[in-house]
């Protein structure tokens, strides 16, 4: 690990001020905000991240879950994953989020991992994490070892010839389905970013993962009021029963009336370079009868653009099955 200067920030402006001195807020940023540390400290030990300044933001007042006048929820960036998952309102009104959080990592990690940190969780691609290998995300222009390597766990959606790394977060999948918004404070003031615009596709710049600029501090994640009558579920498929990243996961929020789907929101994880919203499948479901044929058709449609890599072709079928089953669970066609 390389040396760094450590500062414990007392105020948000102080943190932002230090952050704004950096040239980038993306891969290799010289200033990093330190919250739970479960991603950052890990990557610093691997020399994948080597900030010269660490700003410990754990003591900022960003750890509340607030009920908003519009019936929504404002979640402080420092709210721990365990606290968020077990929050009574989240459990009742945003079940998909609670389930997604509890399906991730371990109890120990959930105790320290934060909402903001999980939002910015980095890929688990082995080649990104190994400085001996070529990786365009870690070192732009160096190549991608994953395309010809062990890419079983990597993405089949949103890939580019430069990068096929998966966004590993479970929470992000739920937030994508929930149409969350991300509140950011930066040197130019506050702004609100729709969730679907927050993460970037790798394209030719896989080292740029989000729209964050130097000094930008994620302060809150906001959820709209829960949709009345909607049911939500998170289904995660993986090799072992717990403490593992998803091979494929699905967050679904469905409204059903009169035997037909109403509004449906679907996002999937474990298969995309960013949390993946399944718009085509959502449209196919809306208004269609709640039956097996509809569900299977929608699941196929969801993965229509999938581009499997050399070793993860099975994930196309697995993801289809994952989504179909999540829809069955949410509509009561299958019991969990």
């Amino acid at each position: 690990m390389e040396r760094f200067q450590y500062t414990r920030a007392r105020t948000i402006p102080e943190a932002i001020g230090i952050g704004a001195q950096a040239t980038t807020a993306q891969q290799g940023a010289p200033v990093r905000f330190l919250a739970g540390g479960t991603t950052l400290v890990d990557l610093m030990k691997l020399n994948v991240e080597h900030p010269t300044r660490l700003v410990d933001i754990n003591h900022l007042a960003l750890n509340a879950i607030e009920h908003m006048p519009d019936g929504g929820l404002r979640i402080g960036a420092l709210v721990r994953n365990a606290a968020l998952a077990h929050d009574a309102t989240v459990m009742k009104d945003y079940r998909v989020l609670s389930e997604a959080l509890l399906s991730g990592a371990s109890a120990q990690l959930r105790n320290v991992a934060t909402t903001g940190g999980n939002l910015l969780q980095r890929t688990r691609c082995m080649y990104f994490r190994n400085t001996a290998m070529a990786c365009n995300k870690r070192e732009p222009g160096s190549g991608c070892s994953a395309i010809a390597g062990d890419n079983r766990s990597l993405a089949i959606l949103g890939t580019s010839p430069q990068c096929i790394a998966t966004n590993p977060s479970d929470m992000n999948v739920a937030l994508a389905a929930l149409d969350a918004t991300v509140q950011v404070q930066g040197s130019k003031g506050e702004r609100t970013i729709p969730f679907r615009d927050f993460h970037l596709l790798p394209g030719d710049t896989p080292h740029r993962e989000t729209v964050l600029e130097p000094g930008d501090l994620v302060t809150h994640v906001t959820l709209a009021a829960p949709r009345a009558g909607a049911t939500s579920r998170y289904l995660k498929l993986r090799d072992r029963a717990s403490y593992e990243f998803a091979l494929a996961s699905a967050a679904v929020i469905v409204e059903v009336s009169g035997g037909r789907f109403g509004n449906v929101s679907i996002a999937m994880g474990g298969i995309g370079t960013k949390p993946w919203r399944m718009t085509a499948a959502e449209q196919a479901l809306a208004g269609a009868p709640v039956d097996e044929a509809t569900i299977v058709r929608a699941a196929k449609l969801a993965l229509a653009d999938a581009k499997p890599q050399s070793e993860n072709g099975f994930k196309v079928e697995l993801a289809q099955r994952c989504l179909a089953h999540a829809l069955r669970l949410a509509t009561g066609m299958a019991a969990s």
Partner: protein, 700 residues
């Protein structure tokens, strides 16, 4: 009468482990200590052209092969593996240069630039031009019998690598002392490391090897510690200071041994009624780049390849092949889990082709007392295949469940297996292990090299001595293995520590008891002072073994088992989860029932991981997923209900009737699980059964 044996007495290591007080290698510190690091090859095959130290070398100790005072060879069986590459690189992560420094950050920052001339590597054992060892076991006339068999069933079965993942990685500390070296380390076999250090350092210096508390071994700390011990010793000799080398998890997974992958082909002849008349078995193990223990792993694999079945015509041909991958080595079961997997899945397929119930097939052919094994060993009364099978079937209501579950999402499968205890053939005779028992002022102290690695060696040995000597268990001490003071009781491997070493200790205790002439140890000690009893292993006089033809009494006895696995599949998502495993195992007699139960449970969990999860991905000759995130082993949630039954069938040659147990539980879970998945309609012949494998089976 026994008061300790057969009781789950309080373990000797419990309090220390539960309070964190127990010291492992990385917990020890010596004055002036340096940290060591290994610079490894980054190509699978080729030659080293040049080596350049691209860092400020002040304060560093640097060692390459030219610093080796004696022989650059890890002394084991064939002695083909160097401590440090001279020019030829045979596998990824092969050690080339050693560095030591007192500051770990500096050590990790040191950049050594190595230029290579690459050569074409061999990764496919079936295409390898070189075999480390060929073994043929032949009984009767297989070709003849196959030609006249009413039915012939063929099949090919494959198993992958398996990584040990002991939670404590490999680690040692070499400490200069008295002009020589004291080596502290996490290891199973202190005298293996001792022999290896003699080879690298020569005979001129005093040496001793001390086993520190060891955080898991499972075979992974049988031979590999000889390598890391040599490295630390070389750095300690050159620097004159203690040197600690602790591998990080990635290094441990990439560079150290794993279970041999296997390809096993069966061609089996039967009568229409299901009697085995011919078994032709071809075994290929991927040995990796050096022979290490491959020859003996192959040997045990081949001997167990015909399963616990009787058949007059058997031919087993085995090869351990060279590939440009890190050497594979000892792992709980030592070749038998691979070949018994193939046999037991094959039995299920045979039953299908015969249109008969696989239980009847197994019952009909199971080895009974008086029957002959593939090596023509005549089994004695302690052969319990049938008893295990029948108890497992009865206890699980197997026949009814097998019918009832048809067409559901639950499957039930079974495997029958056995495991020879102790070294193969004349191995124990050659080892000639010794044990020593010292009288103390309060009781007795056990002085053996057998290591506690979590399996309960200290406790179990103390129980045996306690009852044989007729003194309370609490008065028996167990010395930390230190080669300068304990007797060479041989390696802690091969399910031999209870049966073989325990027996020698029992004899020591019985002789000590005679010497005490009715006095307590305290009384005798007060009157006459201390004394020691040393005894050597006595090979049963009836054992005959022909090592050239692989015929005869391969093992003094066998432990037996039958596992029944119930699995549940989600046909929508291809998730397969074990629901329950019933393990009925006979290993003579449990000395400590709770410890024995723990061995069976633990081996079963490892077997479930082997079957369902553990997938070593090799890319360009190196493990490409060397982390605990990417190579997943079972968590507690992956562990189903375990119903363990310990049948007793005493073995006269073991202490208080005990046989070996450690490896047996590893043999059954994989085939039982795969047979349960087969019951669900998936024609699975390879492990691990990860989702892509299952999807491929389902779409056939």
């Amino acid at each position: 009468m026994t008061t300790a044996v057969g009781q789950s007495v309080s373990r000797k290591d419990g309090i220390g482990k539960a309070t964190g007080a127990t010291k492992y290698a990385d917990d020890l510190h010596f004055p002036g200590m340096l940290f060591g690091r290994t610079i490894r090859s980054t190509i699978p095959c080729g030659r080293v052209k040049s080596i350049r130290m691209d860092f400020d070398t002040s304060g560093f100790t640097i060692v390459d092969y030219r610093d080796i005072p004696h022989r650059n060879v890890v002394a084991l069986i064939d002695e083909d593996q160097p401590y440090l590459v001279e020019t030829e690189v045979r596998h990824m992560a092969e050690a080339i240069v050693l560095l030591a420094h007192e500051d770990r950050e500096k050590l990790l920052g040191a950049n050594v630039v190595i230029e290579y001339e690459e050569a074409e590597p061999v990764f496919d054992p079936e295409r390898s031009p070189h075999s480390f060892k060929d073994i043929t076991i032949e009984k009767g006339d297989v070709e003849d019998a196959l030609a006249s068999a009413e039915i012939v069933v063929e099949g090919t079965y494959r198993t992958g690598h398996q990584e040990h993942v002991y939670i404590e990685t490999n680690g040692v500390i070499a400490v200069p002392e008295h002009g020589g070296i004291a080596l502290y380390g996490s290891l199973q076999c202190p005298f293996y490391a001792y022999k290896a250090l003699r080879s690298v350092l020569g005979n001129d210096h005093p040496l001793r090897v001390i086993q520190t508390e060891t955080g898991g071994g499972f075979g992974g700390k049988e031979e590999y510690p000889s390598m890391i011990a040599g490295h630390a010793a070389l750095l300690a000799v050159k620097s004159g200071r203690p040197v600690k080398i602790i591998y990080d998890r990635v290094e441990d997974m990439v560079a150290t041994t794993k279970r041999h992958p296997s390809i096993v082909r069966h061609r089996t002849g039967l009568t229409r009624e299901g009697r085995l008349v011919a078994m032709d078995v071809d075994v290929i193990l991927d040995g990796g780049a050096y022979s290490t223990l491959s020859a003996v792993v192959l040997s045990r694999g081949c001997i167990h390849a015909a399963g616990p079945y009787r058949c007059d015509n058997v031919k087993i041909f085995g090869r351990a092949m060279f590939t440009n991958t890190p050497p594979n080595g000892a792992f709980r079961g030592f070749g038998a889990p691979q070949t018994e997997f193939a046999m037991e899945v094959h039995m299920e397929r045979i039953a299908e082709q015969l249109g008969m119930d696989s239980l009847t097939l197994r019952e009909m052919n199971a080895l009974r007392p008086g029957d002959m094994t593939a090596t023509s060993q005549v089994l004695k009364q302690d052969a319990s295949a049938l008893e295990c099978l029948q108890e497992a079937v009865r206890r699980t209501d197997y026949r009814r469940k097998r019918e009832e579950l048809k067409g559901t999402n639950r499957g039930i499968g079974l495997a029958l297996f056995y495991h020879g205890a102790g070294f193969t053939g004349a191995g124990e005779q050659r080892l000639a292990s010794k044990a020593r028992l010292d009288l103390t002022a309060t009781g007795a102290r056990i002085m053996v090299a057998s290591t506690e690695i979590g399996q309960g060696t200290r406790t179990m040995h103390a129980q045996i001595v306690s009852d044989a000597l007729g003194v309370p268990y609490e008065t028996i001490e167990v010395a930390q293995p230190d080669t300068s003071v304990v007797a060479d009781s041989g390696p802690t491997v091969a399910s031999r520590t209870c049966m073989v070493v325990g027996k020698i200790l029992e004899r020591c205790a019985l002789e000590m008891k005679e010497r005490l002439e009715g006095m307590t140890p305290a009384q005798y000690h007060a009157k006459h002072g201390a004394f020691s009893i040393v005894k050597e292993h006595i090979q049963p006089e009836w054992m005959r073994w022909d090592d050239d033809n692989y015929q005869g009494d391969a093992y003094a006895t066998y432990a037996w088992g039958c596992d029944v696995a119930e699995v549940e599949i989600d046909r929508d998502t291809y998730e397969v989860r074990p629901v329950k495993v019933t393990a009925v195992q006979e290993f003579g007699r449990p000395i400590h029932p709770a410890l024995a139960m723990g061995q069976i449970e633990g081996g079963t969990v490892q077997g479930l991981g082997y079957a369902l999860l553990e997938h070593v991905v090799m890319k360009n000759g190196a493990m490409a997923n060397p982390t605990l995130t990417n190579y997943t082993i079972p968590t507690t949630l992956d562990t189903p209900e375990l119903d363990i039954v310990m049948l007793e069938n005493h073995y006269d040659g073991g202490p208080f009737g005990a046989k070996g147990l450690g490896e047996l539980p590893m043999d059954g879970p994989a085939p039982a699980v795969v047979n349960a998945i087969r019951h669900l309609g998936l024609d699975l012949r390879d492990i691990p059964a990860i989702p892509e494998t299952l999807i491929a089976c389902a779409s056939l």
